[in-house]
Symmetry: C2
DNA sequence: CCACAATGCTATGTAATATAGCAAAAATAC
DNA sequence: GTATTTTTGCTATATTACATAGCATTGTGG
C-alpha cells in the first residue's frame, strides 16, 4: 500500500500513511523511554546529553547542541538542570567557552543510562518483524538528513 | 550495526540507535508537515481530525480521539479551534453526545489537506532508498500498537 | 431503579522545540 | 592592529503535543 492508496481507502485510516505512522511510533517510543528514565529522574534529552559527553570531556554547550540538534537557547536550562543534579560541571576553556564535563556522580549515572537505553533499543528492535528489521535504521537515517 | 554496537562505537553517535533516529526523523518530518500546513493555517493534529471526519459524518469527539489517540481533554480545545475557523460544526446526537461534522468550508479545506498530505507522504517515501522503502511502514506499524 | 460507565469539558502541568534579543569574547578580514 | 563579523552562553517567552485530575451530566446494563 502506497500513500495515495492509503489516503483513499478507509481500511487502515491514517495509520496507512508512513508520516502518520512515524509520528505515532515515535510518540509511543518516547513515552516508553521517558518512563524508563523517570526511575532515575532524567528526561530523554538529559540522557542524550549525558551520553554524548560521556565520550569526550572537552565539548562545549554549543557543540553538544549541534550534535543533538538542540538549540543554544534550550541547552542553557537543560545544563542548569544537570548541574543542579550534580551530574555535570561547567569548566572554563577560555573567557567565553566552557567545557561540559561529567562529575563522578554523572559518570556513575551514565553507566545506568547506557544499560537502560541499550535495553530499550533492543526491546524496540525486537518488536519489528525480523525481515523488516535491517531496513529500519537506514530508512530513518535517510529521513534525518 | 545493532544497538549495542552503536552504543559503544563513537562513529555514528546516537544516530546509530534506532530509537534516537526514530525521534530525529519524526521531528524532521513533523517540522516539514507543519510548515506545509501553516500556509492553510492548520496544525498537524487539526488536519488529522479533519481527515478522519471526512470519511464519516457521525463521529463523536471521543470516537475521533480514540482513532487518533488524542485524549478527550485535548479534543475539546482542538475542536473549539476548528469550530472558530468554521471548519466543523458540533451537532447534537442526544443530550450527551454530539457528532462532529464538516462545514462546507471544512469540506473545501479537506480537499486541500488531502493534496498537501499526499504530496508530503510521497516526498517522505521518496527520500527512503528504494530497497528499504517497502519495509518502512510495516516496521512502524509494529511499533505503534 | 441504581450503580457504573461514558461524554464533554475545565484547569493545569510537562516536555520538546522555537524565536528574538543581548553582552561579551573570539575569529576574521582588511 | 583595528574593525567587522561570528560565536558563545544566556534570558525571556511562545508554541505544540500530550498528560493528569477532577467534574457535572447523561446514558446504560444488571
Amino acid at each position: 500500500m502506497n500513500p495515495s492508496e492509503a489516503m483513499f481507502s478507509k481500511n487502515a485510516g491514517l495509520t496507512g500513511l508512513p508520516g502518520y505512522a512515524l509520528r505515532r511510533a515515535a510518540n509511543a517510543m518516547m513515552a516508553d523511554l521517558a518512563g524508563r528514565l523517570a526511575s532515575i529522574d532524567l528526561r530523554i534529552s538529559d540522557s542524550a546529553v549525558l551520553q554524548v559527553i560521556g565520550e569526550r570531556t572537552d565539548m562545549t554547550s554549543s557543540e553538544i547542541g549541534k550534535v543533538l540538534e538542540i538549540q543554544r537557547a534550550n541547552m542553557a536550562p537543560l545544563l542548569d538542570r544537570l548541574e543542579s543534579a550534580q551530574l555535570i560541571r561547567r569548566e572554563p576553556i577560555d573567557r567565553k567557552s566552557q567545557a561540559v564535563v561529567l562529575t563522578q556522580h554523572g559518570l556513575e549515572q551514565l553507566a545506568t543510562i547506557r544499560r537502560v537505553v541499550l535495553e530499550f533499543e533492543e526491546d524496540l528492535m525486537a518488536r519489528i518483524p525480523a525481515r523488516h528489521r535491517p531496513h529500519f535504521l537506514p530508512a530513518l537515517r535517510a529521513l534525518m538528513d
